[in-house]
């Protein structure tokens, strides 16, 4: 009897070594003996010291982390297997227990190949045997592509996974090419030297020991402003004393120090004090560039990526970058800007590629809008994709045809974004939904309708769609939509009051006894929902208040509060606190998400340290205060 499933499995195997080295008949036979296994994210396939299985494995869908786990230490990922990679080869060669952990990094389908079926081929076909031995011995999955391994782009100075895992512990890049001058040197002369040598700073030395440092910033702030003249001595404007370290400083230490002192250069001396000879200089810029995962390299890789699979790999690297940033305590506003840019580039690239794949160029100008957290630049982890599309008005008779084109395009884009790691929006709020793929005037009508009807569903839609950000296409279109929104909100206090009532629906999450309010039932019972109870109340408040002030083009919650602090100096303190709290909670969620490999939304309170709890409680107090302010300012009682 034919086994049509086995044939499909054989088709898959035929594309990857060592199976590609076998004959079709052999593959069919192997495929018919395979076990197809499904794993959720974060499940263990095998772990160190476990007795070896009677199978080895190949990833069909998903990704598997191979981890080295030394006693008592946090497991370290030494390799990542994705589609077509084989792993768990030990039992083919040795009888002893597994030496590493294999854990699914995402939801995965794995084929388990029985050893007794496969082993004869390792003996009869020497190529197969050699491939597996090499793979196993070098811990490299695919020695055939050794030179491309772990590289996004063939010519970039990309770093292997092993090094990436040690992001913050890498040795710092010390620049020996530096400019030193004596304290009496004139500012003009020092500046000339810097510019000639193309560096960003000059070290002022006395007897080869550093006494001060002057950077580009100082020239701008102190000289160009006219406070000092170029004839003055460099000693007048130098920063002193110089922060010095010895050369075995780690990257995370260097970054922390720079952050702490708000500087971007460190001086390296022989013994780490200012009392010995200068050996070199470390700049923030050099640190960032030295990282294989630096944003600039990733950005270049994104813009060159020629397949969705490549974009997905880059996304994984972005996550490593994010993890590194958070571990090094880099301020969140910084981090979220970088991650936003990379996310944004990924979306742009995906749309660009999909347009190229269409049979014809777009029939009209259009803009792709990201909604919700990506629109607010708060999407650090993979969360759902919420998006919409607006196209310019076309003649009536062309409308259906034009929409059909963009729906087709949107279907392609959303599908690829899903593969990259942005889950489909469970509420179908995506550009591929005919309800959210509209012409400019249709959008205007839609917003008018939402604002005037303003039932609970409409309010919800407004909350999502008001935070849009253009990801691709014609800015004029999205601006026109924004203008329209402000136009229809003019004098519509009724709508703002309703929005205010909505912003109050999740009260501050502290109970009467200052304990955390946790979920009462369902599968999340006893977990704390930081999105619903912490982040959303602030997001809603910021949106409401910024709409009231009719401020356009700021969609980030923390930036909105910063803006509000400027606009209402008498409430400056509370707005500043809100901006801060918003950042703290997003960071919290991101850290939780990275730790648990999920969206970080639900927090187990037992995992929190006392310090973290206090920090969160402080944020909740802020929520309470801003909600009081809203209650006083808007007439919400009617709607509550």
């Amino acid at each position: 009897m034919t086994n049509s499933i086995a044939i499909r499995i054989a088709d898959f195997l035929a594309d990857f070594p060592p199976f590609s080295l076998l004959h079709r008949a052999e593959l069919d036979k192997i495929a018919s003996e395979i076990k197809v296994m499904y794993f959720e994210q974060g499940q263990t396939i095998f772990s160190k010291n476990e007795k070896v299985h009677e199978y080895f494995y190949i990833v069909q869908k998903g990704a598997v982390d191979l981890q080295k786990a030394d006693n008592g230490q946090e497991p370290e990922t030494i390799d990542k297997c994705d589609e077509g990679d084989v792993f768990g080869l030990r039992p083919l060669f040795a009888k002893e227990n597994y030496q590493i952990n294999a854990i699914t990094d995402e939801e995965s389908v794995i084929y388990a190949i029985p050893l007794n079926v496969f082993k004869p081929y390792t003996i009869s076909n020497s190529q197969v045997g050699n491939f597996l031995i090499e793979s196993f011995a070098s811990n490299t999955r695919n020695p055939y592509s050794n030179e491309h391994r772990g590289k996004l782009i063939a010519d970039e100075d990309d770093i292997s996974l092993k090094k990436e895992a040690h992001f913050e512990l890498q040795p710092i890049p010390i620049v020996k090419k530096m400019v030193t001058v004596s304290p009496e040197t004139s500012i003009q002369k020092a500046a000339t030297l810097i510019s000639k040598r193309k560096v960003g700073s000059v070290i002022v030395v006395e007897d080869k020991k550093p006494v001060g440092i002057v950077t580009d910033v100082d020239f701008r702030e102190l000289v160009a402003t006219g406070r000092f003249t170029i004839q003055d001595s460099i000693a007048e404007i130098m920063n002193s004393p110089v922060i010095c370290y010895s050369k075995n400083l780690t990257i995370s230490q260097a970054q922390l120090t720079m952050m702490k002192h708000n500087i971007n250069h460190l001086c390296i001396t022989k013994d780490g004090t200012p009392n010995t000879k200068v050996k070199g200089i470390v700049s923030e810029h050099d640190i960032i560039v030295s990282q294989g995962n630096n944003p600039a390299v990733l950005m270049k890789a994104i813009n060159r990526a020629s397949s969705t699979k490549k974009l997905k790999r880059i996304r994984n690297k972005i996550m490593i970058l994010l993890n590194g940033y958070l571990k090094s305590n880099i301020p969140l506003s910084h981090v979220s800007n970088i991650i936003f840019e990379l996310n944004d580039a990924t979306i742009k690239r995906t749309i660009k590629r999909c347009i190229d794949k269409m049979d014809s160029p777009p029939p009209a100008k259009f803009a792709w809008m990201s909604l919700g957290s990506q629109g607010r630049k708060e999407q650090l982890l993979h969360t759902d994709q919420d998006n919409a599309l607006v196209f310019e008005d076309v003649p009536e008779e062309k409308l259906a045809e034009t929409r059909a084109y963009f729906l087709k395009l949107a279907t392609k884009v959303t599908k690829r974004l899903n593969i990259i790691g942005y889950e489909f929006c469970p509420a179908e709020m995506m550009a591929r939904n005919p309800k959210y793929c509209l012409s400019l005037s249709e959008w205007k009508e839609q917003f008018s309708e939402w604002v005037t009807t303003s039932g609970n569903d409409e309010i919800l839609l407004c909350q999502i769609f008001f935070d849009f950000d253009i990801s691709y296409g014609e800015v004029k279109l999205t601006n026109s939509v924004s203008d329209h929104i402000f136009e229809i909100l003019k004098g519509n206090s009724n709508f703002l009051n309703r929005l205010a009532a909505q912003a109050l629906r999740n009260p501050s999450p502290l109970g009467f006894f200052r304990q955390f309010l946790v979920e009462q039932d369902g599968e999340k019972k006893d977990l704390f929902d930081i999105k619903k109870r912490g982040i959303m109340p602030l997001t809603d408040a910021a949106r409401l208040l910024i709409l009231e002030h009719r401020v356009k083009n700021i969609s980030n919650t923390s930036e909105r509060f910063e803006k509000l602090a400027q606009l209402e100096p008498n409430n400056k303190e509370i707005y500043k606190a809100c901006a801060y709290s918003s950042r703290v909670m997003i960071k919290f969620r991101t850290k939780q998400g990275l730790k648990n490999k999920d969206n970080g939304r639900f927090i187990n309170l037992e995992d929190l340290s006392k310090e973290d709890k206090i920090k969160l409680k402080r944020c909740f107090k802020t929520i309470k205060e801003i909600q009081e302010l809203i209650k006083v300012r808007f007439q919400t009682t009617y709607y509550l």
């Binding site: 009897m1 034919t2 086994n3 049509s4 499933i5 086995a6 499909r8 499995i9 088709d11 495929a31 018919s32 003996e33 395979i34 076990k35 197809v36 296994m37 499904y38 794993f39 959720e40 869908k61 939801e107 389908v109 388990a112 599908k415 899903n418 593969i419 489909f424 469970p426 509420a427 179908e428 709020m429 569903d457 919800l460 839609l461 599968e523």
Partner: protein
């Protein structure tokens, strides 16, 4: 007389041996732990949608135990036909005198029952396939299937969020779910191929529904439209 202690109904000794074996397998109580349950995910290709007129062309099935499928252990049978509906040929591609090895309907049913025993059956829009098989059993004077049954269409719906913004009554096709879960659609409309796709979907659904591994079989049965 052999008494089934759970159903308190005697197994009719006049029925064929294979049916009695099948019925007897239900004397064993199913475990409550999902990971210990044997699921049989199946699909039927039929000549049409009329329970009286139309006939089963083929049945394909795979077995899932503890989130794994043994490919060597799948089930596929093509049935001999007297009825032929040219309309559905373009869907399933099974024409009357093709070279598939075919067996008489009764033999196909017998093989199927031997394969499923007391497993929990799973299918997409399970009601249809279940009824088709029951009608076929009925034609041969046999009682209805005794298995518990789960419907992936219903399970999928239960994972959709509760909001007025999507159509909660929408009925999801296998294609739509496969698309949402990023599963390639090869072998659509062969019974085995569809059974395999349904099985992958079913495992993904279990993963989503049973996030904390706390659910038992009882909870799964409770998920209704």
């Amino acid at each position: 007389m052999i008494w089934n202690i759970f159903n308190k109904k005697p197994i009719d000794e006049n029925l064929p041996e294979f049916w009695q074996n099948y019925a007897r397998s239900f004397e064993e109580k199913l475990p409550e732990d999902i990971s210990k349950i044997r699921f049989v995910v199946f699909d039927t290709e039929t000549t049409g949608f009329d329970f009286d007129e139309d006939r089963i062309l083929s049945i394909g099935a795979v077995r899932i135990e503890n989130n794994s499928i043994e490919i060597g252990d799948n089930f596929e049978v093509f049935l001999e036909q007297s009825r032929f509906n040219p309309e559905t040929v373009k869907i399933h591609g099974i024409i009357q005198n093709e070279k598939f090895e075919k067996v008489p309907e009764l033999e196909g049913l017998k093989n199927f029952l031997n394969y499923v025993q007391n497993s929990v059956l799973v299918a997409h829009h399970a009601g249809f396939d279940f009824k088709m098989i029951n009608r076929a059993l009925n034609r041969h004077g046999l009682p209805k299937l005794k298995n518990k049954v789960l419907d992936t269409a219903v399970l999928y719906k239960s994972t959709r969020i509760a909001t007025n913004l999507i159509n909660r009554d929408k009925i999801y096709s296998l294609d739509e779910i496969a698309e949402a879960y990023n599963i390639e659609l090869t072998d659509r409309h062969t019974a085995s191929g569809d059974a395999y796709i349904t099985a992958i979907i079913f495992m993904k659904l279990l993963g989503r529904i049973n996030k904390k591994n706390k659910l038992g079989m009882k909870d799964l049965y409770k998920i209704k439209n």
